[in-house]
């Protein structure tokens, strides 16, 4: 029983420990967060091919994670799946999912990837949005 427990523990913790050891984590920063639709996270074979059912209107956290080259929009699988909002977080891509390192590599939390942008494109879009908001502010002040 005890051996089984240790074996399971090793199997769970080794991948993230190895990932940290070999420095395969990328670094990024979460700049936006909101509670969005969980539908993305709830999709799958059963949902796609199973009998029609009433969709569950739950909300899941959606994060915009900015890394040096790519910007990811990721969605949690449950409503309370949180990412620590530290200045810099470690993450890695794993089978179409994004695994975020929690508690200094003791465990990982996996998120669905909803969207990806090339960083330079995303920066350009943000500059455009900022300029529009500034123009709206000036317009409001002049009114």
């Amino acid at each position: 029983m005890k051996r089984g427990f240790w074996l399971a523990f090793l199997l769970c913790s080794v991948p993230s420990l190895l990932a940290a050891q070999f420095g395969i984590y990328q670094h990024g920063s979460v700049v936006r967060m909101h509670m969005g639709d969980c539908m993305l996270a709830h999709r799958g074979m059963m949902v796609a091919f199973g009998p029609p059912s009433i969709p569950i209107r739950d909300s899941c956290p959606e994060y915009t994670l900015v890394s040096p080259n790519v910007v990811y929009v990721i969605v949690g699988k449950t409503s309370n799946q949180l990412i620590p909002l530290a200045e810099v977080i470690d993450f890695r891509l794993q089978k179409n999912e994004l695994a975020v390192r929690l508690d200094d590599a003791k465990r990982e939390s996996k998120f669905e990837i909803k969207e990806m942008f090339v960083r330079s494109d995303w920066d350009r879009i943000q500059r455009h949005i900022d300029a529009q908001m500034k123009a709206a502010e000036v317009h409001d002040a002049e009114r």
Partner: protein, 327 residues
């Protein structure tokens, strides 16, 4: 009641507000008219509009650990604020709210439904006021409400002047939301910088006659930054509309809901502990396309930390965001 509000306004050192308060009392029967949203009244209003740059957000919040104990040693890099979806990590200041003055309005429901408990509630309020460790600049007012009106028993100086026999058991209907709206107005008009507005609401939450809607009251509370501690004097173990109303008022404002069944001593300790364990953070107002900013506080490292604060604020009016220039 009119003279009470006039006295309260004068005590606020804002004589110019007297007129506003008089108007408020005169239109108590239609508070929705007086405080209707500008967006609803745009066509009717002919008042001049003043614009100013609002640039700083001031937020009182509470941090607890996994055992629901207040976190004493919280640092400014232990949390981030999600303000209208944007993650804020740079703060202008971060202090404990123990150093902030309180402006407290204690509201006592004296309507028919709570009459059997009124004597006990009044005694609890007297105990709270007399035994609480207030700071020297803290202001305490007491208001009762029933029938069609709210009655200001004493304004700002209740720490020394409140007596149990001042609360008259009148019975009648429960104008809960009207009364909360009125108390919030009072706090707004007496508002000074670095004073934290708080309502301690003793009621069963069962509104029977208010003309003000819940949505309107909620909006006003969020605009003013008032925190509501709702003490349920009804049967808090039985789910009712009243309980739900009190819980929502407390949750949305960042305050707390407690049942009177917890016992007066525990309630007093909990509320006062809370008021003295609050944290105050200020940050630059983030750009947003909407006037309402939803707020959420999340940990940066320790995911066991829990944070409590009001649900959001309005960037265009009094209260939550400080106006640094302009009128």
């Amino acid at each position: 009641m009119t003279s009470n509000f006039v006295k309260a306004a004068i005590r606020c050192n804002r004589p110019s507000r007297v007129l506003v308060l008089l108007l408020l009392v005169a239109t108590l029967s239609r508070p929705d008219r007086l405080f209707a949203l500008p967006s609803n009244n745009e066509n009717e209003s002919s008042d001049a509009t003043y614009h100013s740059t609002v640039s700083e957000v001031r937020l009182v919040f509470f941090a607890t650990d996994e055992h629901n104990h207040n976190v004493q040693q919280l640092q400014k890099d232990d949390f981030a604020i999600v303000d209208d979806e944007r993650v804020i990590r740079e703060f202008r200041s971060f202090t404990r709210s123990a150093s902030i003055k309180l402006d407290v309005v204690v509201m006592i429901d004296s309507s028919e439904s709570v009459l059997p408990h009124l004597q006990q509630v009044t005694a609890d309020v007297a105990q709270l006021i007399s035994r609480s460790p207030w700071n020297s600049g803290d202001l305490v007012s007491v208001m009762s409400f029933s029938g069609m009106e709210a009655h200001l028993i004493c304004a700002e100086t209740c720490r020394t002047s409140f007596r149990v026999d001042q609360v008259v058991p009148t019975g009648g209907a429960t104008p809960l939301l009207d009364a909360v709206s009125l108390a919030t107005t009072l706090l707004i008009h007496c508002r000074q910088q670095d004073v934290w507005p708080v309502i301690l609401l003793f009621s069963d939450g069962d509104d029977t006659i208010s003309k003000t809607s819940f949505r309107h009251v909620r909006e006003k509370i969020l605009e003013s930054g008032t925190q509501i501690y709702a003490i349920d004097v009804g049967n808090s173990k039985r789910l009712s509309n009243g309980t739900a109303t009190l819980q929502r008022l407390a949750d949305d404002s960042g305050g707390r809901y407690v049942g009177l069944a917890d016992g007066p001593v525990k309630i007093l300790n909990d509320v006062m502990d809370d008021l003295h364990s609050g944290l105050l953070v200020t940050y630059l107002l983030p750009k947003s396309s909407s006037e309402f900013h939803s707020i959420r506080i999340l940990p940066t490292h320790n995911l066991n930390l829990q944070f409590r604060c009001r649900r959001g604020y309005y960037s265009h009016r009094f209260g939550s965001a400080r106006q640094e220039d302009g009128p």
